[in-house]
């Protein structure tokens, strides 16, 4: 079955970018400019909306033929490529994006042909699905765990590792007493926000090691 592996969904959407010679700067440049400044932390649209493990937005200008003899061929349009690994059901995921971060979606997709806007919920979902490509082989961010499960697991792993490091060699009674307290405390902690747990990374444009 395409697009799904266990509970994780591999989403690929190609939206044609408006080709309007009167637009200054052109629509593809406007998307690039907006994306380059988009947050990769807690205020990323994909952290604000539920269910994203990993997402990537790319402006695809054209295809470049690199064989021999050289031949020139072109796409009919420039495309915005949106790929994401997300939890579960596609409709729920798209609803979540439109609920939590409609302004950002509109700021990106308003440069695409036929985009109806996130406010028109049914039209929005129909549009995204119309642009979807089936995927059978995609980068898997996690091993069949939901985003909340993954965040909770990371939080637990870090806390338990710290607990072990600070309690190594304690006598059994102290250890048990403090472990019970620790578990209660851990359970009471709120789920960490998506995008909050990794080291801070700027968006890199590739070629860093060159």
């Amino acid at each position: 079955m395409p697009n799904k592996n266990g509970s994780v969904y591999g989403l690929t959407i190609l939206s044609p970018i408006i080709d309007d010679e009167k637009a200054v700067p052109s629509h593809d440049l406007q998307i690039r400019n907006y994306l380059a400044k988009l947050s990769t932390r807690e205020d990323s649209p994909f952290a604000l909306a539920p269910g994203t493990h990993l997402a990537r937005l790319v402006v695809m200008d054209d295809v470049i033929y690199v064989g021999m003899p050289a031949c020139e061929e072109h796409l009919k349009s420039k495309y915005l490529v949106f790929e994401s690994n997300c939890d579960g059901d596609l409709d729920a995921y798209l609803h979540g994006l439109a609920d939590k971060t409609p302004d950002r979606l509109d700021a990106i997709w308003k440069h695409c042909v036929g985009y109806p806007g996130a406010a028109n919920r049914l039209a929005f979902i129909d549009y995204m699905k119309a642009c979807q490509l089936d995927t059978t082989f995609y980068f898997a961010a996690v091993n069949d765990k939901s985003v909340p499960e993954t965040l909770r697991a990371l939080q637990t792993q870090m806390a338990v590792a710290d607990f072990i490091a600070t309690h190594q060699g304690s006598d059994m009674a102290t250890l048990q007493h403090e472990f019970i307290q620790f578990v209660a405390h851990l359970k009471s902690l709120p789920l960490p926000k998506a995008g909050s747990m990794g080291p801070h990374r700027d968006i890199k444009t590739g070629g860093r090691n060159e």
Binding site: A161, I164, A165, T166, Q168, G169, P199, R208, N209, E210
Partner: protein
């Protein structure tokens, strides 16, 4: 592939000389013509890879250049621009990629490395201090008489001598220098565990092109190399890093943590590295050092991690498991065959036997030199991904226990099992046991290429 032309390859590339004393001179070239005449003079000194057949020389001389040095020798621009980018940039410029930050960042390096004026490395090794001095004075008079270069700095290094015999011990007390790879065509007493792992469990030499330019590598391609081919062929790239060792910090840390580790101090030290301090692999002898294994070439490097997937014997983050993961990533070890490096190193500074006081401030460490066909694919990858990061070893952001830059925050987990003397154990608040004092990337050319450089005959067309 046929036998390599050993008379054309610098001996330093093909073999560890096993000569106990060394001096490394760092040259700044004067006028290009005089610098070329110096190289012409030195050519007769350069030790090649020819077999010694029992008559080991008293001393050896080898030479390598930074990209600035090659510029100064007036190699054509078309040649200079054809070198790999990381070599053109030099190691200082690569600090972010290598994780050389904090105490390891270039602003803390020794003057000679901060200033970026080093053009060439001259490596002189000797069987005795007298032989080393004699050869050094010959080399220095060649430098003086030609006026080809200024010696910016020199670095002494020497093996620890115990009972009159040079050893391969380093300052933390570990026996070093086990894991150099075998390469096709390089004549060497090879031993299982040093090349690449085959599906049937045996070991074979790596492709020559993982070490030498001009030959096919493990992907069946010629390594990225400068033009013309004749300049590159039989040459290689060298990393030089002066690594200071904080001996007092290491001993304190080991002592403090051993007090609460049920396996005892020596076992904890062995877990850090994956070898007992006498060199016995913990994978083969998890409970005690065993000199019969450490000294047996058929066994000392002959092991895999398939039966120890959880790290109960050799921890996932132990130094040897990180930098040479063997089969630990599956696929019969094929994911690591393009990430191997050949190490040539010697300690520097006074040895302080256990029990004798030692301070971090004393000048002491190891001169780490590594040879590889691609600095970025081999050395830089190992340093960035396997030393300064842990993801490939399923260790998240953890770094190499001894080599990593921890700044007091690092963590190292000894996985262990249910045996009372092999418990799981966490070492946290790791300090920096090792600090980088400087270094650079060098091109180590063939004898033919040295001649072309000396005569100004490098022609990229």
């Amino acid at each position: 592939m046929s036998k390599l032309n050993e008379t054309d390859i610098q001996g330093f590339v093909l073999r560890g000389y096993n000569l106990p004393v060394a001096r490394f001179l760092f040259l700044h070239f004067e006028s290009p013509a005089r610098a070329r005449s110096l190289i012409a003079r030195l050519l007769s000194h350069i030790t090649t890879g020819q077999r010694w057949d029992g008559a080991k020389p008293q001393s050896t001389v080898n030479i390598a250049f930074t990209h600035r040095g090659l510029q100064h020798l007036e190699l054509p621009d078309a040649t200079l621009l054809s070198f790999p980018v990381e070599f053109q940039q030099g190691m200082k410029h690569r600090a972010e990629i290598l994780g050389d930050e904090g105490v390891n960042s270039p602003e803390h390096w020794e003057d000679v490395w901060r200033e970026g004026r080093v053009h060439a490395w001259l490596g002189i090794n000797g069987l005795t201090p007298e032989a080393l001095e004699a050869r050094c004075s010959l080399v220095l008079s060649a430098i003086e008489e030609t006026g080809g270069a200024t010696v910016l700095a020199s670095q002494n290094a020497a093996a620890e001598v115990i009972n009159g015999k040079p050893t391969t011990k380093e300052h933390f007390g570990y026996t070093d220098g086990f894991g150099n790879p075998d390469y096709l065509g390089v004549e060497r007493r090879s031993q299982p565990g040093q090349g690449k792992l085959l599906p049937n469990g045996t070991w074979a030499p790596l492709a020559t092109g993982e070490l030498l330019l001009g030959y096919a590598d493990e992907a069946g391609e010629l390594p990225v190399a400068p033009v013309p081919h004749l300049l590159a062929s039989n040459g290689t790239f060298m990393v030089y890093r002066k690594l200071h060792q904080n001996l007092a910090t290491f001993r304190d840390y080991l002592e403090t943590h051993a007090a609460t580790y049920a396996g005892g101090k020596e076992k904890l030290a062995a877990k850090f590295v994956g070898r007992w301090r006498d060199g016995t692999p913990v994978e083969l002898s998890p409970d005690n050092p065993d000199p019969t294994i450490a000294q047996d070439p058929a066994r000392s490097t002959n092991f895999t991690y398939a039966a120890d997937a959880e790290g109960a014997r050799c921890p996932m983050g132990a130094h040897v498991r990180r930098v040479h993961p063997r089969d630990a990533f599956g696929f019969n070890g094929q994911l690591i065959n393009r990430r191997r490096i050949t190490r040539r190193g010697l300690p520097y500074g006074r040895f302080a036997p256990e029990g004798e006081p030692a301070s971090d401030a004393e000048e002491r460490g190891v001169i780490f030199m590594a040879l590889n066909a691609s600095l970025s694919r081999q050395f830089e990858f190992v340093q960035q991904q396997w030393v300064q990061y842990g993801n490939d070893a399923h260790l998240g952001n953890e770094k190499d226990m001894l080599m990593g830059h921890h700044g007091g925050r690092g963590r190292f987990v000894v996985q262990g099992d249910e045996t009372p003397t092999n418990p799981p154990f966490v070492c946290s608040n790791l300090p920096d046991f090792v600090e980088l004092r400087g270094g650079d990337y060098f091109f180590l050319p063939s004898i033919t290429a040295l001649g072309m450089i000396a005569m100004g005959l490098v022609d990229p067309r």
